[in-house]
Structure formats: structure tokens, C-alpha cells
Amino acid sequence: MVLLTERDSPPPAARLRLVRPMNFALTVPALLLLVVFFILPVLSLLLRSVMEPEPGLGNYAALLGSTTYLKIFLNTFVVSALVTVVTLAIGFPVAWALAIMPSRLSSIVFAILLLSMWTNLLTRTYAWMVLLQRTGVINKTLMGLGLISEPLPLVNNLTGVTIGMTYIMLPFIILPLYGVIRKIDPAILQAAALCGATRWQALTRVLIPLAAPGMVSGALMVFVMSLGYFVTPALLGGTANMMLAELIAQFVQSLVNWGMGGAAALVLLVVTLTLYAIQLRLFGTARMEGR
């Protein structure tokens, strides 16, 4: 190796400047894509909500003044809240078990979680349509056991949507909660036990409070994702419990009413971004994925 004296070569910093011309320019292709095919189209859609059919807030008045639409907003919140509560209730013990069980066992559960997450969304929804239908395996089993005499209406209603959405959202709450519980120092719980706490006290006064940030963050994420869901509610829900995303699609596709479509989109967007901002403010990070 040739040793260079300071006089022979320019100082490293000067030469390195040649290596670092990459800057803002490199992000331009991605930025262009985002501005032209994401930001501008969305803004233009929102603009149409106050421009069509005539300038003004008529679409918003129609949207918020009609019981039909208010019912859809309410239903969207009810479904999302229900799904959030159920996933949290199931997700917490599963994440807890995953965090402490022998790795031989947990790797099997992780494989199942990933397989379920990675399986095509329509495939999973189709599976539930088949399982839950009147002549489906669940109704057949319940009738075979003599628990019911008539098939239960499990699909095209709130039950169907809740089951289908819970199925899809579970991994999104289990995986982050697992990370949070994993980071809790077991010594803290040992200390609780040494100080005389019963298991129940240790759970409600130590473990759950320590895991609470993860629970709130995961629940917010599931809630926000549920609000904007389209495919699963459209296939497993009924006409009586339409959700907001379906309403937007219906305004545009069947009714060709861009003004109302834009207004409904703005409502969804405002709620989503507000909750997202809360998430950022509370936890500083956001892991979200919309479909």
C-alpha cells in the first residue's frame, strides 16, 4: 500500500466531496411519481367535492345531513371498533405467550402468522365466505352437534364482517405487541412477585401497564386500517351494513357522482390522517399498511 503524505494528496474531505454529489436530485424520480400520480390526483378528487355539480359545500351538506349516510359512518366506526376490541382481546394473550414460549413452539406460530398475512386477501375472504355460508361447515357442525336447529345467518351481516376483518387484522396487532412484551424486563415481574403481588395483581398492575403503549399503538393501527377497508366488508357484509370505503366506490362506479365521492373520500381521509397524527404524536413511529 502506498502511503500518501498530506502534501501529496488533497485532504480526504475535499476528495470525498466528489463522492457526495448525490442529494436531493436522487429523490426526484420517486418524488415525481408521488406528486403526479398520488398527491395531485387525490387533491383534484377532493377539489371536485366542492366544485361539482356546482361550487359550494352542497355535497358535504348532503352527506352529513342524510340519515342513510350517517348510518354508514356510524357502521364504519362500529365495525372498526368491534374488530379493534376483539383483535386486542385475542392478540394480547397470544403476543404474551409468543414472547415467552420455547422458540421451537413460537417459530411454528410465527410461520402460521406469516403464512396467513401473506396469503392473498381475496383467498382469505373467499375462505370465510365458504365457511360461513348457510350450508357451510360451521353451520353444519353446529347443527350436527345439535346446538342449533336452523342455520345461523353468519354472512352478509355484522358477524361476517367482524370475523373476516378480525382474521385479517390479528397479525397486525400480535406482531407489534410481541415486540413490546419481549422488551419488558422479566426482573420487574419477579420483583412484583417478591413484593407479594399475586399473579392477577402482577398482570393488571405491572404487565398490562407496561404493555399499554404497544396495545394503544396497535389498536389505533388496526382501527385506522379497518376504517378504510373495502374488499372484506364488500364480500362478507350485507347491504344493511355498508362501510365508508364501499360508499366511496359506489358513488364513483355506479352513481358516477364525483362530487359526493370526493366528499366521502375527504371524510375518510381526515379521520385517517387525524388518527395517524395522534399515533405519531403519542409514539413517534407509525407502522401501518393499508389495503
Binding site: N23, T27, F37, S44, I100, W118, K140, L189, G290
Partner: protein, 266 residues
């Protein structure tokens, strides 16, 4: 004691029970669909009265299914290449560049992940109506690229942040050209990030339903659109066969990722 598996006592069995039931809840529908795709009942009766391959025969005999699968693959492949390329270049700028508003730009690049897809779908649909891109491969690719790019940028910036930039600088000091140093030193070091960017981009496009429903035309549709349209009519077991094929592709990709992770670790 609550975080020590062996000292949980009776609670251990409650936790294991819930985890077992949840695992069954997550895996059974997938197993069930795979089983029914070989069942002979048109009405998807379980357990099936007999076993058959006729749903697969129907899938492969129908050119529309194959065409849709081909279109899906073609679009996902283009999206993967573009997403990794644009994502790589942007990540270099985001991680190694110095300019005002860098963090804000980074957050902006991830917004397509949090925005409800249906809003983007409707907005792009309106835009493409005006410029005539609905029902074209270009339209599909652009729409899927918008949602795939955040995954690509996330994977690659993560990998780049774990890479020590001074190694690249050292290569330049030793006489490599800046481009050479990037191609021969930096890229191999972040290959795991590039790989996960590619897998996520591919799966995002391959599985995407909502944008695809809006972009599709009677002559151009992806596999999810074909499944969606068929599902709205009836629950025919041909969908079970198509779904099982999709599950097999998913498992193959998962195994590939797992194998490559192992390879990288050792």
C-alpha cells in the same frame, strides 16, 4: 413470574390454549380451501363426497384464468424492477444526501402506506379517465408502483443505514471511481435490503385488489380482479383451485426468503 414460561403454573395452559386456538383460526381457512379445491362437490360440501382434479382442469382450460395470471405476473414483474430501481436511487439520496426537509420527504414517501387504498384508487381512476390510462398495463403499473414504492424505500433505507458509508469512501480513496464503489462495495452489502424490497414490491402488486378493480377493463384484468368478478357471481370451486395455486406461490416465496435469510446469516 409472568414472563417466565416455566413458572407460569396453570396460566401457562390458558395462554397455550388461546395461542393454539388462534393459530388454528388463522391456519384452518387456508387448509380448508386447499382441501376443498380437490373436493368433488360443486357446492363446496365438507367433507367432500369424493376427490377430483376437475377444478384445476377447469382453471387451466379457461384461457381467461391463465391470461389473468399471466397479466398479474407481467405487471408485478415490471413493478418490482421499477420499484427497486427508483427506491434504491431515492434511498441513496435520503440516507447519504444532505438537504433541507430530508426527514419530511422521507415521511412523505411513506404516506401511500397509510392512505386508504380506496381513496387513491378513485383518485387515480378519475385522473386516468382523463389521460386514457385505465385498462392499460401502464395504468396498472403506475397504480401499483405508487403503493409498492414505500415498501421498497423502507427496506432499502433500513439496509443503507446499517451499512457503514466509510467503507465506500475507503474504496474511493483507494482509487475506485464513485460509481464503481457503489456497484461493487455498497450494493452487495445491502443486497438483503434490495431482496426484501423486491419481494415486498412483487407481492404488493401480485396481491393488490382495490386499485386493480378500478384500473381493469374487460380485456385487461389481473388474477385478483378475475377472482373478485367470479366471486360476485358464485363461490365456484374453481376459485378454490386458483386460491390454492396462489397459496403455493406464497409458501414458495416464504421459503425462498427464509432460505436466503439463513444463507445471509451463515
Amino acid at each position: 413470574m409472568l414472563l417466565n414460561f416455566d413458572r407460569l403454573g396453570g396460566w401457562k395452559w390458558i395462554l397455550l390454549g388461546i395461542t393454539g386456538l388462534t393459530s388454528a383460526f388463522l391456519i384452518l381457512p387456508i387448509v380448508f380451501i386447499a382441501a376443498l379445491s380437490f373436493g368433488s362437490s360443486q357446492w363446496l360440501i365438507f367433507p367432500p363426497p369424493g376427490w377430483t382434479l376437475k377444478w384445476y382442469a377447469m382453471f387451466f382450460a379457461d384461457p381467461r384464468w391463465l391470461e389473468a395470471a399471466g397479466t398479474s405476473f407481467y405487471i408485478a414483474a415490471i413493478v418490482t424492477v421499477l420499484s427497486v430501481l427508483i427506491g434504491l436511487v431515492a434511498s441513496f439520496g435520503l440516507v447519504h444526501g444532505r438537504f433541507i426537509g430530508k426527514e419530511g420527504l422521507r415521511a412523505l414517501f411513506l404516506t401511500p402506506m397509510i392512505l386508504p387504498v380506496v381513496v387513491l384508487a378513485v383518485a387515480l381512476y378519475a385522473f386516468f379517465l382523463r389521460i386514457g390510462l385505465n385498462g392499460t398495463v401502464t395504468g396498472f403499473v403506475i397504480a401499483h408502483l405508487v403503493v409498492a414504492l414505500p415498501f421498497s424505500i423502507l427496506s432499502i433505507t433500513n439496509a443503507l443505514e446499517g451499512f457503514d458509508k466509510s467503507i465506500e469512501d475507503a474504496a474511493v480513496l483507494c482509487g475506485a471511481s464513485p460509481l464503481e464503489a457503489k456497484l461493487r462495495i455498497t450494493l452487495p452489502s445491502i443486497s438483503h435490503g434490495l431482496f426484501s424490497a423486491a419481494v415486498f414490491s412483487f407481492l404488493t402488486s401480485w396481491d393488490e385488489v382495490v386499485l386493480a378493480i378500478f384500473m381493469a377493463s374487460p380485456t385487461l384484468q389481473t388474477l385478483p380482479v378475475k377472482i373478485w368478478a367470479t366471486l360476485r357471481q358464485d363461490l365456484t370451486p374453481v376459485i378454490a383451485a386458483a386460491s390454492t395455486l396462489l397459496i403455493v406461490v406464497t409458501i414458495a416465496l416464504m421459503l425462498l426468503v427464509a432460505l436466503l435469510r439463513k444463507g445471509l446469516k451463515s
